[in-house]
Symmetry: C2
Subunit: 437 residues, 2 copies
């Protein structure tokens, strides 16, 4: 119970009044008294910056100091905290945050791209200037995932972090599974509902989720945040037929980020056992599973995006600053974070795989295929027999025993060139993430 903030108010400036920024402004203005109880001081909106000054945001900003140039907010002497809600890993956001930290202002941001790319430099700036750099809103929206890992589980040796970190992808995959529609249709659905951007590649190619995984992995394993040390795969290649096959085999298809000590974090479209905790997280929800010693496994599920959920995370960061709850941005001093050269070379342990081949239904096909797989030390664990269609292409779905991905890829390359194979083979890892079952 140490209140290190002796001031009577915490003055904040919000840069960017989009969905989240405007919601934070609304909360700070409309719920001033309640926030003051938790913060110990009044959180006061002192300045804002946004492109469109005339837009109706449902709040009165007439008395607030308005800046057309967001970067100027860093120069407002009376401001204690810059709330950066502009977005983008570079440009104005980065310029503003650098200047704010350098001038001794705390920074709260939802900008996962910026933290994933420049977190090391920015955390160093925060440390040097003895201010907070907080980014709870950058990971898993309303789930306090960063705080859970950095503080709630700080006494643990973390052995794995796994998560569904992009609600857009999870919604698209859930929709494809429940309706049987294809990727483009599910994406259009997500766009119509406001869950996906017009330009969806940051979401569907796994980049947004990989930004978040970069941040979680750095905190979990004490290495430098390094977006280039994450292996990334999106969900564009999943076909609607795979959901039904996966289900028959007892699995569900999800985009899952996994980080383990000493290994390169992976964002991947994979199969999870239907009974596993993450497999049950559907729609736009996010979820993060933390495994550690001595704690065991902790699962957190909640809304991963949207103005409400994200502003909740921003407000909690602001209250932490007001109360004087500090700490290193990544949970330990910058000079103790390891560089990522070691994990870039780490090979993931073998996995079982789901494989779907479109092959001509004729005698001897299975022998040919298993022969090639066998040559690369891939052994078949299970086979889905589909209906016969002699002479025509049919789906041949199999699961493998634990195999090295590099071997599987070699085998599939060879298989793809066979005359009996009529489409590019589809392969996804099967992950069993439940350590405590």
């Amino acid at each position: 119970m140490i209140m290190s903030n002796a001031k009577s108010s915490l003055k904040i400036a919000i840069a960017g009044l989009g969905v989240v920024g405007a919601e934070v402004a609304r909360q700070v203005i409309n719920r001033s008294d309640q926030l003051c109880l938790a913060a110990g001081v009044k959180i006061q909106l002192a300045a804002v910056s946004a492109r469109n000054r005339s837009m109706d945001r449902g709040i009165n900003l007439d008395d607030i100091d308005w800046h057309d140039d967001a970067a100027k907010l860093a120069e407002c002497d009376e401001v204690d905290v810059i709330v950066e809600m502009i977005g983008g890993s570079e440009g104005v956001a980065l310029e503003l945050v650098r200047a704010a930290l350098a001038s001794g202002k705390h920074v709260v941001t939802a900008n996962k791209a910026m933290i994933a790319h420049h977190g090391l430099e920015l955390a160093q700036l925060a440390e040097t200037n003895r201010v907070n750099l907080l980014f709870e809103a950058a990971v898993a929206g309303g789930i306090p995932a960063v705080k859970t890992l950095r503080e709630g589980l700080s006494g643990n040796d973390i052995t794995r972090v796994a998560g569904i970190l992009n609600g857009t992808c999870n919604f698209i995959l859930s929709t494809m599974e429940t309706t049987g529609c294809d990727f483009d249709e599910a994406l259009a659905d997500a766009q119509r509902l406001g869950y996906a951007e017009a330009e969806p590649s940051f979401d569907v190619d796994g980049i947004d989720a990989a930004h978040k995984l970069t941040i979680l992995a750095a905190i979990a394993f004490g290495h430098q945040p390094d977006f280039n040390a994450v292996s990334i795969q999106g969900i564009r290649d999943v076909s609607s037929v795979d959901f039904a096959y996966a289900n028959q085999l007892g699995f569900r298809i999800k985009l899952v980020g996994v980080a383990e000590p000493g290994l390169m974090p992976r964002m991947q479209t994979c199969l999870l056992p239907l009974g596993s905790q993450l497999a049950k997280v559907n729609g736009v929800l996010n979820a993060v599973e933390f495994h550690g010693e001595p704690v065991g496994s902790i699962l957190a599920v909640g809304p991963g995006a949207g103005g409400g959920a994200t502003s909740s995370a921003v407000l909690s960061d602001l209250i932490d600053i007001a109360v004087g709850r500090g700490g290193f941005p990544f949970g330990q001093p910058i000079n103790t974070l390891l560089d990522t050269s070691a994990i870039k070379n780490g090979a993931w342990p073998d996995n079982p795989f789901y494989v779907r081949l479109m092959v001509v239904d004729q005698p001897g096909v299975l022998a040919t295929l298993t022969g090639i797989l066998n040559k690369y030390a891939i052994s078949v664990e299970g086979l889905l027999q589909q209906g016969r269609a002699p002479g025509n292409a049919v789906a041949l779905v199999m699961t493998t025993h634990e195999a090295a991905e590099i071997n599987l890829n070699r085998a599939l390359n060879e298989i793809e060139n066979l005359a009996i194979v009529r489409a590019k083979p589809v392969a996804m890892p099967i992950l069993n993430l439940d350590l405590n079952k």
Copy 2:
């Protein structure tokens, strides 16, 4: 990034070396370097107290200052933090914690009974002496439930906290459901596996869970922790037949604590929809659902007990103290916490109910029963028709529409006295906790 602790080590004294206390000591000794990274300083075990000095705890405590009288730990000048692992709401534990706080030492405790009964007084002591009183380990074991609510969701107007807060009860209920055994058998199982005490009443009568709910409700709604302002029901009255009936109706039986603003928190054995998040939490796991504005719903699941999970919570509290992360024990200043007189008078809104009656199978029975229910404004929503047994007692299972509990109890009292009714009626509320579905 404010490090308010300028010392080079944090010296702790552990009072009580049972399962959790010994595990904390082991972690502090064996993982010293790793904990130092997160804490910024070395966490040093300076003193201990336990009844049995000769017991082998798998760690070398030879060089540690040993006190036979735990209360004396508060007088050790060099100790910064007392880790109270003795347990019990009164007695030595309370005496030690009072003395420690009064002498300016931080306190970390897993003692839910003490915090539920004396939290107000102790938090006041902590506030007056400007030290931390942290009790993450008192609620939901390894799940950082206290931190999630007090800090992670601090910017929210909390509208509900609901949880499965006692792993022993959840294990017993899960076992009864999956094996069809009765309560005594499931309890014996739990005792054999070390999940239940020889004297199980704290667990199975809902008291332990109610301690935790007391703490969560105080933080969530800004009122004083007051164990006497919690309505408590245990699991002893559940019969194995009810699980099958509940399942046919689409429900699962759970002991669930629910707290809402302005209402007396309730610990109750109830029916949850099979598809709800808490219904899926089985075995010894704990789970807490937080609902709030603007965040929506957050679910956290994890191990609720055991040395590993609980010591994880203790270690995170110690690291918070080392880093200088402070704050009020219940999230806001003691003098702003409301007293509980208002919630003691609040009536819970009406609920649907599950009702099981053992009645003689003869013409006119249903008309008699529904006539009485109707008199008390209870309307039947669904009925489970069991096999016929003319002239003999059969189970008549029904669900009601929303009804006032007081009315239902009056109706069931009248029904119990009918000659056609052969056993005490069983009634449990049906809760639909998923706000965001």
